[in-house]
């Protein structure tokens, strides 16, 4: 079955490493503003900080639901995870969608993929270059570094919202994106870290 194409709106995807914090924050903010958006992680596993640095909580993408993780963490240490805000975040996530998704596993096509970390950008680009070209539709992959913590995620989400608003105001995205990114980067009110942009083809 083919995926129905949408000719009128820009299809956004935001991707961080685990599809938990940064991408979900942006996902929420963008979807609340009516954007057509999906969120993904690009890492091998969903990794959440554990009680110590060397014992992260790892889950499988797609098959593990946010609900499951939520309950799992409650079971592990409810007060600890409540305190560091993790439960709160997962609770928000499970109200947005069912489970964390891995970018490399999706068949959907997007117009713009926003990566929130250079490593994620590399993975996404690598994935897009490695898959056989099918439809030939171009996709813009943009990187904006956001530090992986709750505050930065929120601040970063606003930056992403700004970027997406600018992009969606374009008459012709493919022709204007260079200029939009230039303006976005040059905005004195906000420092954009490590802006990267490339174009790939599905």
């Amino acid at each position: 079955m083919t995926i129905r194409e949408d000719f009128s709106t820009i299809r956004f995807a935001v991707s961080c490493s685990s599809n938990m914090n940064r991408s979900m924050e942006a996902h929420l903010m963008l979807s609340q503003r009516g954007f057509n958006v999906e969120s993904y992680g690009s890492g091998n596993q969903v990794k959440l900080p554990g009680k110590s640095a060397d014992t992260p909580n790892c889950y499988e993408f797609e098959t593990t639901t946010y609900d499951f993780i939520y309950n799992d963490l409650i079971q592990k240490d409810k007060s600890y995870y409540t305190q560091n805000g993790l439960l709160n975040m997962i609770d928000r996530n499970r109200r947005i969608k069912e489970a964390p998704q891995k970018f490399q596993l999706t068949n959907k096509e997007f117009d713009v993929i926003i990566c929130l970390e250079e490593r994620v950008y590399d993975q996404v680009v690598d994935h897009l270059h490695s898959r056989p070209e099918k439809s030939g539709n171009p996709v813009h992959v943009i990187n904006v570094d956001i530090v992986d913590n709750a505050e930065e995620a929120t601040v970063g989400a606003f930056a992403i919202l700004d970027l997406c608003s600018r992009l969606s105001q374009c008459d012709d995205l493919d022709a204007e994106i260079d200029d939009v990114l230039g303006e976005f980067e040059a905005n004195p009110n906000r420092k954009v870290n490590n802006l990267l942009h490339t174009i790939c083809f599905y």
């Binding site: 439809s135 012709d172 994106i177």
Partner: protein, 1188 residues
């Protein structure tokens, strides 16, 4: 609607579902609903139809939606075409036109660029499958046509590589990639196998679907060779893109991506890897200066990414060293490089020289190419593919040569100098590219680093077109260009060469070689380009430079016509040419001439351009468009409206003139200029004058279409009637004027013009347009009059309202004019009927002075048709009021009543100047039918009667009266009975005119059978003593007796009294006596008896009687008795005679008395005794019934 259709559903049901969905989609008001329904239909057609024939049958219905104005629907159609073509390439046949149409969609349409992009993407996707399909359908003609169509489409897409829309360029680059991949040979197997591990993921993509290897050499419509050349040239043009300074970051990324893809998939083809490596090296040190920091970072990242991927390929060992150097420059660590080396690279050193494998591959490819070429020896002769393969490394050599040259000179002293000089020229800010690319040099001063540095400098030098290697490269470039032109000639579709903005004034190549020039400070390091700064980068140009640039530019735009057509941008090209030539004040005429000459050179193709140009100039004249004028000059240079009009006029005339000079006036453009330009100036129309037939047709069209200039144009048309050229033209003018006259909206104008023209004929001097070159100036000639009248009279035939103006002009005009008019009107007026109301009005309201013309008209129109009552009345009243010439009445004689005829008769009979009409008049009177009674108004009898009643006053008239009598009596229409009746009637007059006696002689000559009647008449005349009325009648009577001779002798002898006889003899002379003597014996005895004695004495030939008697005596033996008897008899006779004389006298008296009583019955009695045929009598009786 749910998307799934059970596969077991039969075809009919599925078709029903599809048609239902399409129908609903047609009806759906909401775009989203429509789209949803269409998606469903498409889904069934493409994914759920097993047989694929549904797709074929519904395809066109789906394609129809492209006409929907909605952007999304159009996009959907493109997407549908893509999917459908992939499913079944047969669909391409139908879809190709839709794709073409969408590609040339109006740029004003919202989202046009996105639609174009989608079309290109769709083409990118379906192209490989189309090749595959076309290869299969060798014999299908339709497929051939489809392939041709797609080739054209391909060409148009490739033109978009220069499009100003970045997005379109992006997808065009991808399209180029597909072309190159699909039209180049697949690498040989073991290479592919070795590369398979790396590119295993690509194997399913469209790039793997088809390659040049799959195309048979002997294909009917696909030229293997053309595809090969196309791929090669397009690959070169891709590489050339790298040199573009204005390339955006986005497209640079795409370009890297595309080129590296090609490198991966076609590693063994035409030294791809080396060429790409070379291009990437150049790119690395020459990133476009317009890139921002993050863009430079992105590009370098992308470059690094792709280089790593290339590095992984076993086939890339040839360029491994260069890859590693470049990667190191890009900031890759040694461990990263090592990690990405191909797994078997460790084996390579064992095999001896590095790159052996690759060389082998290359060798194999060459051998293969050679074998292939051997099969086609004719192609190998100048095969660009092989030559280009060998030529490509020459650029490499160029850099190598320069690198070696620099390397030899890199000593510490020179380097120090270079550094010192470059310190001065450093920019204020560190350029973004330098910042991101700078890495501390780890192995400074080593041989390797020196070589690398020399190479980097050499790259820059070659880019800047200097250095010993450059010459080589230049020659090579020239060759490449020739190859390209050659390839184009063979029909290959190649993306246009990017325009590289180099220094405007390349120095002569000879001076480049001087050593002093080379060690320029700018070569010291791979110095990053400065960030673009508009203010510092631009320099004010001098006016001369500016105009030169404009000039060059203009020529260049003009030269790009073919490309513009290919790319569907001909309108823009035309627009540019027109705007430059028309909207800038300075140098106006120069560009004007350029453009006009340009148009005329290829006038067939450039008619639209010409019209566009004129329209623009006209728009400026009307103020819809403006001429750009610098503000400070505004006051001086603003053109007034009249100047603008003059300019329009000048340009239009110039075009027409140039066409005329080149003898191109028969071409369409000449006529289109006049027909379709916004307005036609009087000066321009004159050009039409030169060329007869064709020009006239155009002029006619102009008159029909150019409302506002109609009068001028009609003037022109009319003036053509005075042209010196042969009559054929004049006739054409007449035909056209007639044709135009038929149109009601033109009729009045034509009429007015005709009236004006005829009025002009009365002027003293002919108007300017009447005069031809051959005639003496300002003088009327017959020719001019004829020309003026020719057209007028031709129209007169169909438009009789023109009669009156003609008559008015005639009245006023000079004699010469009148003469010509009278001569020329004949054939025309004849065709006008007697019934014509205008003609009647004209006769009724005849302008003073035009009577002759009117009468001529009347004459002409009645020549064939009898005059009508209306006409007769009008002519008669005209005659009455204007006292016109009696001749004018001839045509209507038959319509006049008897009284008029009688009044008219003397005007002809007794008028010396009208003598030649007498016959006509008589004929008309006798044959013409009265419009009321349909019988002649006057019978022959009456006419004769009336004729005799005429009273000539002078001798001359009398003579004519007599002479014309024979005209009357000779007429075919006068019968004996007419004459007889007329004579009877005349006899009844109180005074019988002297002519009457002459008549008798004439009648006698003409109708000898009437002799007894005439002698009767004579007898009557004598008995009634009519001849005695006056002296004249006496003489006339005597004359007639003399002439009638024997016919009159009898009554004369018998009825004349002695004194009368003496009078006669006195008049006639004694000669008559002899005559009478001869006659006397013929009288019967009874007649003799009635002869008066005096007369008989005179006329008796006594000698003869004596002789007779003697003769009789001899016969009777001459006896005495006989003689005595004779004597007795004589005596008796003598007595008898005396008695008889008395009797006779008494009888004569009584007859005379009787005659004088004029009894009606006598008429008939005479006829009884006359020797007339019985039939005639009856006829006469019938005709004269009314007398009884």
């Amino acid at each position: 609607m749910d998307k799934f259709v059970e596969p077991i559903e039969d075809t009919a049901t599925v078709a029903e579902r599809v048609s239902k969905a399409i129908k609903e989609a047609h009806e759906a008001a909401n775009v989203d609903d429509k789209l949803k329904l269409l998606e469903d239909a498409a889904d069934i057609l493409i994914n759920n139809d097993q047989s694929a024939h549904l797709l074929d049958s519904f395809c066109e219905e789906m394609l129809e939606f492209v006409d929907n104005p909605q952007f999304t629907i159009k996009c959907f159609v493109v997407s549908f075409i893509q999917r459908a073509c992939l499913r079944d390439p047969e669909v391409t046949k139908k879809a190709i036109t839709t794709l073409s149409a969408l590609l040339s969609i109006d740029r004003q349409y919202p989202g046009a660029s996105r639609i174009i992009r989608r079309v290109i993407i769709a083409c990118t996707n379906i192209y490989p499958s189309i090749i595959q399909w076309a290869v299969r359908k060798k014999t299908d003609l339709e497929a051939g046509a489809c392939w041709e169509a797609f080739s054209i489409l391909k060409g148009r897409i490739l033109q978009l590589i220069d499009n100003d829309n970045e997005g379109i360029r992006t997808v065009t680059l991808k399209f180029l990639e597909t072309i190159v991949l699909a039209q180049s040979p697949r690498p040989v197997k073991d290479d592919a196998v070795s590369g398979m591990e790396m590119i295993s993921l690509e194997e399913k993509s469209r790039h793997e679907l088809v390659s040049l290897t799959d195309v048979p050499r002997d294909h009917r419509f696909i030229s293997y060779r053309k595809l090969q050349i196309e791929a090669d040239e397009n690959f070169k043009s891709l590489l050339n893109q790298f040199t573009l300074m204005h390339l955006s970051a986005q497209n640079l990324l795409v370009l890297i991506n595309v080129v590296c893809n090609i490198a991966k998939l076609r590693s063994g083809w035409e030294k791809t890897l080396e060429r790409i490596m070379d291009a990437l090296e150049v790119l690395h040190v020459n990133l476009p200066p317009t890139l921002g920091t993050s863009q430079v970072k992105s590009v370098r990242k992308e470059l690094k990414f792709h280089l790593f991927r290339l590095l992984k390929m076993p086939a890339a060992v040839v360029i491994q060293q260069k890859l590693i150097t470049l990667l190191t420059d890009l900031g890759a660590s040694a461990s990263e490089v090592n990690r990405n080396l191909p797994p078997n690279s460790a084996m390579l050193p064992k095999r001896g020289r590095r790159g052996e494998a690759a060389e082998e591959t290359a060798k194999r490819a060459r051998v293969e190419a050679k074998i292939e070429d051997d099969e086609y020896p004719d192609e190998s002769a100048a095969g660009p593919s092989t030559s280009s393969a060998s030529s490509e490394p020459s650029q490499l050599t160029a850099i190598d040569v320069t690198a070696q040259w620099i390397y030899e000179r890199l000593n510490p002293q020179l380097v120090t100098n270079l550094v010192l000089i470059s310190l001065v020229t450093f920019p204020e800010e560190m350029p973004a590219m330098f910042a991101s690319s700078y890495t501390p040099i780890a192995a400074a001063g080593t041989e390797n680093q020196k070589k690398h540095l020399a190479r980097m400098m050499a790259t820059q030098a070659t880019q800047a077109e200097i250095g010993p290697g450059f010459e080589q490269m230049k020659a090579e470039k020239l060759k490449r260009m020739q190859d390209r032109i050659e390839a184009r000639k063979q029909g290959a579709v190649i993306a246009p060469t990017p325009y590289v903005n180099r220094d405007t004034q390349p120095e002569p190549s000879g001076s480049k070689k001087s050593e002093a020039k080379l060690p320029l400070p700018t070569f010291t390091a791979p110095k990053p380009k400065q960030q673009f700064n508009l203010i510092s980068s631009v320099q004010k140009m001098t006016k001369k430079e500016m105009s030169e640039v404009f000039d060059h530019l203009y020529h260049r735009i003009m030269g790009a016509e073919r490309r513009a057509i290919q790319g569907g941008a001909i309108q823009q090209q035309n627009l540019l040419l027109v705007i430059r030539a028309s909207r800038f004040q300075s140098n106006d005429e120069h560009f004007e001439d350029l453009l006009i000459n340009y148009i005329i050179e290829e006038h067939k193709q450039r008619t639209e351009l010409a019209l566009l140009y004129l329209t623009e100039i006209y728009a400026q004249y009307q103020g819809f468009s403006h001429i750009h004028i610098p503000l400070k000059q505004l006051r001086d240079h603003g053109m007034s409206k009249s100047q603008l009009y003059e300019r329009y006029d000048r340009i239009l005339c110039k075009m027409l003139k140039n066409l005329t000079v080149r003898d191109l006036h028969r071409e369409t453009i000449f006529h289109k200029l006049l027909l379709e330009s916004p307005t036609v100036t009087p000066n321009s129309v004159v050009y039409l004058k030169e060329f007869s037939a064709l020009g006239l047709t155009t002029l006619r069209e102009l008159i029909l279409t150019r409302n506002r200039q109609r009068l001028e144009l009609i003037d022109l048309l009319f003036s053509l009637g005075f042209h010196d050229k042969p009559d054929k033209l004049r006739q054409s003018v007449v035909d056209i004027v007639k044709e135009l006259w038929e149109l009601s909206y033109l009729r009045e104008d034509i009429r007015n013009k005709l009236r004006e023209q005829i009025e002009c004929c009365t002027l003293d001097v002919p108007p300017r347009h009447f005069q031809t070159l051959l005639e003496a100036p300002n003088k009327w000639t017959e020719n001019i009059y004829r020309n003026a009248l020719h057209l007028y009279l031709a129209l007169l035939q169909i438009d009789t309202t023109l009669l009156m103006p003609l008559a008015v002009a005639y009245a006023k005009g000079p004699i010469e004019f009148k003469r010509i008019v009278l001569r020329l009107v004949e054939p025309v007026v004849k065709t006008i009927g007697v019934q014509n109301q205008e003609m009647l009005d004209l006769v009724a309201e005849c302008p003073l002075g035009a009577e002759t013309l009117i009468l001529r008209f009347v004459h002409l129109i009645t020549e064939r048709n009898p005059p009508t009552r209306e006409l007769v009345d009008r002519v008669r009243s005209l005659h009455a009021t204007r006292n016109t010439d009696a001749r004018g009445m001839i045509p209507i004689l038959s319509g006049l009543d008897r009284e008029d005829i009688v009044n008219l008769l003397p005007h002809f009979v007794l008028n010396s100047s009208n003598q030649k009409f007498v016959q006509v008049v008589i004929k008309r009177l006798l044959t013409g039918k009265n419009p009321d009674t349909l019988e002649p108004t006057i019978t022959g009898e009456d006419l004769i009667f009336e004729y005799h009643k005429l009273e000539p006053r002078e001798e001359e008239e009398r003579k004519m009266h007599v002479e014309n009598l024979s005209e009357l009596l000779d007429s075919r229409h006068i019968q004996k009975d007419h004459i007889a009746a007329a004579i009877e009637k005349i006899l009844e007059l109180d005074v019988v005119p002297p002519l009457f006696y002459h008549t008798l002689t004439v009648v006698d000559k003409k109708f000898p059978s009437l002799d007894s009647f005439i002698s009767n008449v004579v007898q009557k005349v004598i008995l009634r003593e009519l001849w005695k009325a006056n002296d004249e009648t006496r003489k006339a009577f005597f004359r007639s007796i003399i002439q009638l001779r024997s016919v009159a002798y009898a009554p004369m002898l018998t009825e004349f009294r002695g004194d009368e006889f003496l009078e006669f003899v006195e008049y006639a002379g004694n000669q008559i006596i002899l005559d009478l003597r001869d006659f006397y014996p013929t009288l019967s005895t009874s007649q003799r008896r009635s002869v008066a004695t005096e007369i008989s004495d005179k006329v008796r030939d006594k000698d003869a009687e004596e002789k007779q008697r003697l003769k009789a005596g001899k016969d009777g033996k001459g006896s005495k008795e006989n003689k005595e008897k004779e004597k007795d008899k004589d005596k008796e006779r003598e007595d008898d005679r005396e008695n008889q004389e008395q009797e006779r006298e008494a009888m004569r008296e009584s007859r005379r008395n009787k005659e004088q009583q004029k009894e009606v019955g006598t008429r008939f009695a005479h006829f009884e005794c006359a020797d007339l045929k019985r039939q005639n009598c009856i006829h006469f009786y019938q005709n004269n019934m009314f007398y009884f």
